[in-house]
Structures are given as C-alpha cells and as structure tokens.
Symmetry: C2
C-alpha cells in the first residue's frame, strides 16, 4: 500500500477534546506513538523534541515502528486510530524559514518574463543557491484557508492582490541544531525529513516592493505545508544534475542528494502541472551548506525550501506566473473556465510521489 | 540618575549557578522581579510570558515597581542585586525578525554609493517602508563575540569578508500577538518596548548575493541587541518628519510615534558617529502597520528594526559603508589608525539616550 512500512511519515494529530501529540501515518490510520512506544517525547504537541534527538534515534525509532507494524499486531492495533477520527496540526514549531531559488528553469522563466530581451539568469545564480528568509509565523498546515492579501500594487494603488499565485516546493526540516560561528556538518546529520510546501505569492505586491531587499509582504501572508513529514531515510536518492561552472569547494556534492520526487499541481481538482524535482539544479545538501557557510547556526525546527520546482516542459512549471506567462496565456480548465491567477474560492492541491512512496499533499483554498 | 524610576528597562539575568529570570534595571542594580513582586511570570527565562500579558499589565507592573522603589525600600532592597554579580542574557525569545530601511539619508547614501549618477531612491521608497525578514536564530545579546563570516565575494572568489560593517538601529519588540488574516491593531497595544540593535553586515557577500531576493548570508551570521528593553511608556515621543507624497491610508500616522533618541557609535572607544533617530522618515507605527497590512500575524517575541539610522550630516551616519563611502574615505582614529571596514579585534559599541533617559548600549567584538 502507498502508506506502508517503507513510508511512515510523522505528524501531529489530536482526537476531539484531547491535546495534540505525535503520530505516524500507516495506511488510513495514525499510530499513537506515545502509547505504542511508551515514550513521552511523542506526547509533545510538536515533532521538535523528537527531531532534536538526532539521526541514530530517528533510525532506531523507525526500525522499532516497522517491527511493531510487521510483527504481532494484536498489541499495536489498538493504538492505530482511523484518520477520519483525528485532526491534523502543524507538525513542528518552525524556527527560521528560508526559501531558496534552486530551479534553473524557474529562475530562467521569471527572468524572461520580468526582463525580456536580457540574460534571464543573474550573474550569481550558477555560483550559489540564491535564498532569503521568509516569515516563520505564517507557516500553516495543509487545509488552512488563505486570505487574499491587500497591499500596495504600485504608486498610489492599494487593494487586494490581483495576481495571487502558488509555488510548488519541497521543504526540508532541520532536527539537529548547529553552533553559531561554524558551518553545519553533514546534511543527513541535521535534516530530519521532507514536507510539501506551497509558497503562496502575491505577484503584484511583490513586484512593487522587492527592490532592493527582496520579497516581503508578497510572500509573508501564508506558506502552507503538508501535515506528514517524510523521513529522509525513506526517500530514494539520485545524483543531482551536472553543474557548470563547478561550484565552490563548500558546495561540492559529497553524496547523492538529488531526489526523484514527482509533483502534481491541481487547481480545483484538475492537474495543471507536473513539476519534476529531479530537474532541480541545486540539491538540498548544497542549500544547507550554503545556509551555514557564514557561521549562521541551525535550530531544531528550521525549515528551508527549494523554491518553485519547474521542469523544462511547459506542463512542468510549478507556478501560475510561469504556466500562464504572467497571466497572458491563461490555463484552460474543464467547463470552459480559465485562470491567469487564482480567484476567490479556488482550491490548490500539491501532491507528490517518490517511486512507490507517496508524500501526500498540501492543500489550501482562497477564502 | 540615568537608570532611575522613569526608566526601568526589563532584562533577563542570572546569578552563578542559578537559572535566568526576569529583572528590571535600577541604578547599578537589577531588581529580581519574581521575588519582589511574588509573580511567577518573572521566573521565566525570557520576557515572552510577561510581554504576552498586554498593555494594561505592562502599565500596572511598571507602576507597582515604581511604588516599591520610591516607597519603603527596606523590603525591596534585599531583591536588588548588584549588576557585577549577574550575567545578562538574551532578554526574549525572538519569533520573527524583520529589518526595515526607514532612513531617507541611509537609503539615499547607499543608492549614491552603489548606483552613482542615477536616482538614489528606488521608486517604491517614498510609498512604503521597505523591509525584509532576517534570521531570528542568530539574534544575540550584547557582548557576544562576532565571528567574521566567510562567503562568496564574487564569481570564483571565496573567503573571509573584507567589508565587515555595522548598522546602528533601534529594534521594536512585540508583546501581544495578532491573528492571521487581518492587520494588527494600534501600535501601543502590540509593542512592548525598544532595544538597541547592531545589524552586522558583510558588504561584499551581500553585494554578490542580493539580486533579486535580497540580503541573506551577508546579514544572517549575527545581529546583536542590547540586554535592556526600554518600555514604550518610558520613551518621549515627537512627531515624525513630513512625508511627501502622503502615504496610503493604512500608513497615515494616528499619533506621534517619532522618537527623540540620540545614538552614538563607538569604534574601539572612540565616537565615530552620532545618528539621530528623530530624522527617520518612516515611524515605528508605520512599520507595524505595513508589516501586517497583508494579513501576516504577529507573535509574542517578534522583533522589527528600523534599518540603519543616518542623519543628514556626514558625522551622523550609522554604518561604516556610509561613513567611509564604501571604504574610500577611511575613518581616522586616535593614534593614527584608520578604518574602512572592521578589522579583527575591533570592538563596536552603540549607545543611546532619549532626553534624560539612557537606553544603555549594545556591544560586540570581532573575534
């Protein structure tokens, strides 16, 4: 099955009238870990205390859960709760949130749209994974309604954004902190797992505000993540694409951290894009190395995301900005409707698989 | 005295072998609030729980402390601990950190330095307080050593920053949260107090990385704040400067939140600049209104800073970038030394007063 023992993502759930606690998804049920493993770390309302335990504990716990679910299930069964009896919560307390810009196709498309006729990539793009800090306090769990933001759309123009967009991304969740003053260690020693992320964007607000200090209110109103954090250990890995020029020493890949994840973006139930994560230029280990090369520390709960995932084909673009070429080539939906950007009432679902593994979905409606 | 009953800033202190707790500075002593007021909220190791109580509680507590210190002091006296017997800690847990760009002189100077011959201000600057999110996890308390960051200084060039700089700023600390989806309420209902802030900056790293998503590693390695948070209530207020064009309705000033704070920047003990906060174009209430106009929520512990404070005179500039015109006109120090940017071993102190009130200082050495 697609949520089998080779998957086992972690989340935070609650039953009516009870406090949130940590569980693992198995089939259409959630395993109550505090009860099943007799470990109080899972009675917390976030994954942070467990994530802080580190890689050896993550592996041992996963093995223990796999054994419980494949051995004599008569004991474990009573701790499996049907998903329709629980509510899912934001799975971890977000410390700092960083968003990167790792897709060559996405960065090139945006360059072509905003600066037609000139070189689409900035001079720094092939030398480092460009990134910026986003707002941690507005990271919300899948299903949370998203209010269309108001803002300045140009000189003397204020109102609701007319260019509300999505960005289909993968997010990486830090478990083990690092000290200030030195770069972090190996990727797999710090990063606990992966989430699906929708970086909601108001393109008109962003366009007016972002020079010279980058995106701010065009992004900070909401960022949605999937409720299930897939452990790094569960993900099939592939080499990343060839990089030219060869990156600086601190960015050289020491292991295969390319991920063969296939995403789908659904707008009101229809698939409008199929972005391939395998096409990403900068791999997540390179993002982490870059993030800390200046001595910035990591905290448990840090979240860093890939930036919009876009492939080379038009149907592989992970934002409406690219899919509709800034609204000039609207997407056609069944029933004759079209969309340049999102309208009120629209629902966006981003779902993903990695081989036989599902990463679930992140959804949100514009309300 | 300069730390009298009209001042009473809050901080977090510890005695050897004891846990950090909340105190108020009075003269050269710190008042142990949990002991003096019999209130467990002050036994926390951060100001956050107290700050979350809100404006009425802040006012009542301040009045109570003032009464204790001016009435029969025989009881209170035993809870006053000499400052040389305590260690000062980061006074609050930083939720999100936002840095603005509110000084017309600073933004104009940077424009002139980086784009000589063209209009120094970007088209958005007079319409909104430009800002971006910084790294909350590397906000540190005054006295914490700052390691010179390494990074990419240009294509194929990696090494320690050769342009390590400071930015003299005021930071505003949020006590009362706001809900996602609507703008925050009145400034004084949310903001607890003010801190001095040094936004350490690596100008060469920043210059290569910042297009198009803004500053990242050039800033994220360290941000220092003063240990004492001055309550908003203690600060003398003045009108802000005239704004032309008139800002959008949500940014119109509803009260005087200009602050008559005078700063001094000391490099190795010598005053190299005297930035006047009264010259800031955008006032802190406007920063807060802008930060939340898109529906972004506030959390207890959010920190937003003014950006570099620079006045119209050359000696009033709050960064070395401006004081030395990007290193081309080095500052002359006593003994014949000069500085374009910071050298290893240099110590920077930023101190400030508001009328008779002192805001203390934030210091840091490059190690």
């Amino acid at each position: 099955m697609s949520w089998g023992v080779d998957n086992l993502p972690y989340g935070v759930f609650s039953r009516p009238g009870q406090r949130p606690r940590v569980g693992v998804r198995y089939g259409d049920k959630v395993l109550d870990l505090a009860a099943a493993l007799h470990d109080e770390v899972f009675a917390a309302s976030s994954l942070n205390p467990f994530m802080a335990r580190g890689r050896a504990a993550w592996h041992d716990t996963r093995t223990l859960i796999q054994n419980k679910l494949t051995g004599d299930v008569s004991v474990t069964e009573r701790h499996l709760i049907p998903l329709d009896q629980v509510r899912l919560h934001l799975p971890f307390e977000v410390a700092d949130y960083v968003d990167f810009y790792c897709s060559l196709e996405h960065a090139s498309n945006i360059g072509r749209i905003l600066r037609p006729g000139s070189e689409p990539l900035q001079p720094n793009w092939r030398h480092l994974p460009v990134g910026y800090h986003g707002r941690a306090g507005t990271v919300v769990v899948s299903g949370t309604p998203v209010r269309r933001p108001h803002g300045q759309l140009g000189p003397g123009s204020f109102g609701p954004s007319g260019k509300l967009d999505i960005e289909a991304e993968l997010g990486f969740v830090v478990g083990v902190p690092s000290a200030m003053g030195s770069p972090a260690g190996a990727f797999e020693d710090h990063v606990f797992g992966v989430t699906l992320l929708n970086d909601w964007s108001a393109r008109d607000i962003q366009a007016f505000e972002y020079v010279p200090l980058g995106p701010f209110l065009g992004k900070s109103f909401a960022t949605s993540i999937s409720p299930w954090i897939t452990p790094l250990e569960a993900l099939p890995r592939i080499p990343g694409p060839v990089q030219e020029p060869e990156p600086a020493a601190y960015l050289r890949r020491r292991a295969d951290w390319g991920l063969d994840v296939s995403l789908e973006v659904l707008l009101n139930g229809e698939v409008v894009a199929r972005p391939p994560y395998s096409a990403m230029y900068w791999t997540p280990d390179q993002m982490l190395a870059h993030l800390t090369v200046n001595g910035a520390s990591l905290r448990t709960g840090d979240l860093f995301a890939s930036g919009t995932i876009s492939g080379a084909e038009p149907g592989e673009r992970g934002s409406l900005m690219e899919l509709t070429w800034n609204g000039t080539e609207p997407v056609k939906l069944a029933g004759g409707e079209t969309r340049g950007f999102l309208e009120d009432g629209d629902t966006v679902v981003i779902r993903a698989t990695a081989g036989d593994l599902t990463l679930g979905e992140v959804s949100g409606s514009v309300g």
